[in-house]
């Protein structure tokens, strides 16, 4: 089991640790609900050092990324970031990623922890013939996520750089609590916030300084309820090697006007399912529960849980193309009515 540079700090804070993608990470420090609401109302701080980071650089870096990713990396100016995906050869998704343009010919790709080895092997195989260097920096990168309405104000107290000039998806260098950091105005909660890329030896000092400044430490439990409420996909659930992203609410990521690896297979692959957001009248939907229409199973929940803001059970679910509501979710043998919801499930800025 691997530990992040903040492992000891988590234990001192009384975190309940769990195994996630081979890393020991905090599930919660106090309670998931409390941490969730801290992010929605003030500011929460997550250790997401398990995430993978690849550096991609060289004169063909852009050409390579245009080939390997589905979004248009050519739109990225230096200092900007975008959400993207790595398509596979059969119209599915190797991983969903975030791509940051650091310099003219240098990009940082953040990938899911469980996919680090798979993604890196995939990218290497695609890199043949491109003048590009791929480096896996996952082991030497700590990553914190400071999220919430008060994140910017709180972080501003620890850096001389004027954060008010920074927009969503900006990436830039700054000193935070006297330590060098790469900051990005990005996150996975639906709130404003920043992600901080740090050297492992600087991570604890910055983590503790942010807590001292008033951020609430938050674990993976709240990270999942926050992303679900925000209607974001989680790889392995809403997106997999077999999911055609064109058949999802995230089809906007795929830019058909450019060439990319696996494009023809993706375009040729018909959509047999579509993704819905569902809100239950009672009870809590969980992954794997069946979705019913007229008493007939027409789909399944891929992510389900409790929305602390709605105080109701919510789910992301795939149903057969053509299936029509009203829908229900089968909870322990009982068909519980489920209302369609737009994503995100809750109003977010």
């Amino acid at each position: 089991m691997r530990k992040t540079p903040l492992y000891e700090a988590h234990l001192r804070l009384g975190a309940r640790m769990v195994d996630f993608a081979g890393y020991l990470l905090p599930l919660q420090y106090t309670a998931i609900l409390e941490e969730h609401l801290a992010v929605r109302r003030k500011a929460g701080l997550f250790d997401v050092s398990h995430m993978g980071e690849f550096l991609i650089r060289g004169e063909d870096a852009l050409a390579f990324l245009q080939w390997a990713t589905a979004n248009d990396a050519g739109r990225l100016k230096v200092g900007r970031a975008q959400y993207s995906m790595l398509p596979n050869e059969r119209g599915g998704v190797v991983d969903d990623i975030y791509l940051y343009r650091l310099e003219e010919e240098a990009y940082l790709m953040v990938v899911n922890a469980a996919n680090i080895a798979k993604d890196f092997a995939h990218l290497r195989s695609l890199a043949q013939g491109f003048r590009v260097e791929l480096l896996d920096l996952s082991e030497e990168t700590a990553l914190l996520a400071l999220q919430g309405k008060e994140a910017a104000g709180l972080l501003q107290g620890l850096t001389d750089l004027d954060l008010s000039e920074k927009r969503k998806n900006d990436v830039f260098l700054a000193q935070v609590a006297g330590r060098p950091a790469r900051l990005a105005r990005t996150g996975y909660t639906g709130e404003d916030g920043f992600e901080l890329f740090l050297a492992p030896e600087d991570a604890e000092a910055v983590f503790l300084a942010l807590l001292e400044a008033g951020a609430t430490p938050c674990g993976l439990g709240a990270r999942d309820t926050l992303r679900l409420e925000a209607g974001f996909p989680l790889y392995g659930h809403e997106l997999t090697d077999e999911t055609n992203p064109l058949c999802t609410p995230w089809a906007w990521v795929v830019k058909r006007e450019k060439a990319f690896f696996g494009k023809e297979a993706m375009l040729a692959r018909p959509c047999r399912e579509r993704l819905l957001g569902l809100v239950l009248e009672t009870g809590i939907p969980r992954e794997g529960y069946r979705v019913l229409s007229g008493g007939r199973p027409v789909g399944r929940v891929t992510s389900g849980g409790y929305s602390p803001l709605l105080e109701k059970g919510i789910a992301l679910a795939y149903v057969e193309e053509g299936a029509e509501g009203p829908f229900a979710v089968e909870v322990r043998g009982r068909a519980v009515p489920a209302l369609l919801s737009p994503l995100p499930f809750v109003p977010l800025k």
């Binding site: 599930l27 919660q28 309670a31 998931i32 609900l33 439990g221 309820t225 009672t282 009870g283 809590i284 969980r286 849980g305 409790y306 602390p308 105080e311 059970g313 322990r332």
Partner: protein
Amino acid sequence: MDIPKDRFYTKTHEWALPEGDTVLVGITDYAQDALGDVVYVELPEVGRKVEKGEALAVVESVKTASDIYAPVAGEVVEVNLALEKTPELINQDPYGEGWIFRLRPRDMAHLDELLDAQGYQAVLEGEV
């Protein structure tokens, strides 16, 4: 973990408190702590007859759903309706306000088959 000595326990982390010819049933402090924030409780119907070990209620936390089993055979005579509006009572007061249902055991003597506080403590030590 708090384990009151006035009641019986199961290996599946229910407690059973005898009151006259009935028993009050809930989940232990250990169980509520392991579940985390309880956000929904599915209560059994009053009048339902259950066998020992039968699942008859469900406690859902943010993280997971957990079945609650009948500690002894009997009939459900009352349920804690307060949990419909305030399921967090299970976290706040697992041995008191957070009780889940009341059973009338087929035979009160069946309670003797359950663990006492010391026996439950030993179960927890085995789990840790």
